[in-house]
Symmetry: C2
Amino acid sequence: MVLRAIGVVRNEIKQPSMRDYEDVLSDIIVDTNLTEALDNLDEFSHIIVLYWMHQVASTAQPPTKVHPRGKQELPSVGLFATRSPNRPNPIGKATVRLLERQGNILKVKGLDATDGTPVIDIKPYIPGYDSATGAKVPWWVSKR
Amino acid sequence: MVLRAIGVVRNEIKQPSMRDYEDVLSDIIVDTNLTEALDNLDEFSHIIVLYWMHQVASTAQPPTKVHPRGKQELPSVGLFATRSPNRPNPIGKATVRLLERQGNILKVKGLDATDGTPVIDIKPYIPGYDSATGAKVPWWVSKR
C-alpha cells in the first residue's frame, strides 16, 4: 500500500507543537493535474484533510502506551485511544473550515499540520456521516 | 510513503455496494502485537477508522469528475467533492460506534467496508475536533 502526495500544506507553522491550531490559516496547494477534481468542493463549508505527518520521527516500533498530549500527569493510555502522531501509520485527519478555493489552492482554517506536510486526501465533510450524536469521551480528553 | 495494515475488517459484506451500512456489524481484528495499544479505546463511544479500499480497481488515473454515488441523473462534480472510493489514494474514513473491545478485537457498528479490508489507523472520535458546527453541504449530497 503506497501513497502518493496529492498536494502540500503551506502555512507559518514550521515545527510541530501542542499549540492551538483553531485559528491557523493554511493554503493547500494541490497538484495542478488534479485541479479539476476540486470542482464543487467549495459548495461545502468544511472538508476533511488526510495528511502524512512527515516530521514525526519514524520509529520502527511506536510505543503502545502514551501519556495523552505528552502530559506526564495524565495516566498512560493505549496509543490508539489518543491522537498522538507517533503511530504505526503517521496519517493525520483534520476537519477544517474551507474558506475559499482559488484554482488548485484551498484556503482553510484550523489545520493542525506544519508547513510542507504532504496531503494525501481531501474529502467533503458530511454531517451525520462524519459526526456522531451524543458521543462520549473519557475525562482525560481535552476538547480542542 | 508506505502503509502497513494494523488489522483487518471481518463482516458479512463481500462486495462493495451503495447499500446503507448504518446497521452493519463488523469485527476489526487488530494485529496481536498492537493489542495493548487498544487499551482505553472503549472509554470512547465512537471511533474513526481509516482503511484501504482494496477492492477498488486501481486505475493509474482516477477520473477527476464523477456523478455522486454513481447516479447519472446528478450533475458530474469534482472527485474530491465526493466520497467516491476511486481516488488517488483509496483511503476510506468512517466514524463508527464502538460496541465492545475484546482483547485485539473491536466490535463496531456502521463501518462501510467489506470483509477483508485492511485497516490502517484507528483514532478516538472527539466531538468539537472531529465535528463541525453548522456545516453546509450542497443539495446533491444525500445524508447517509
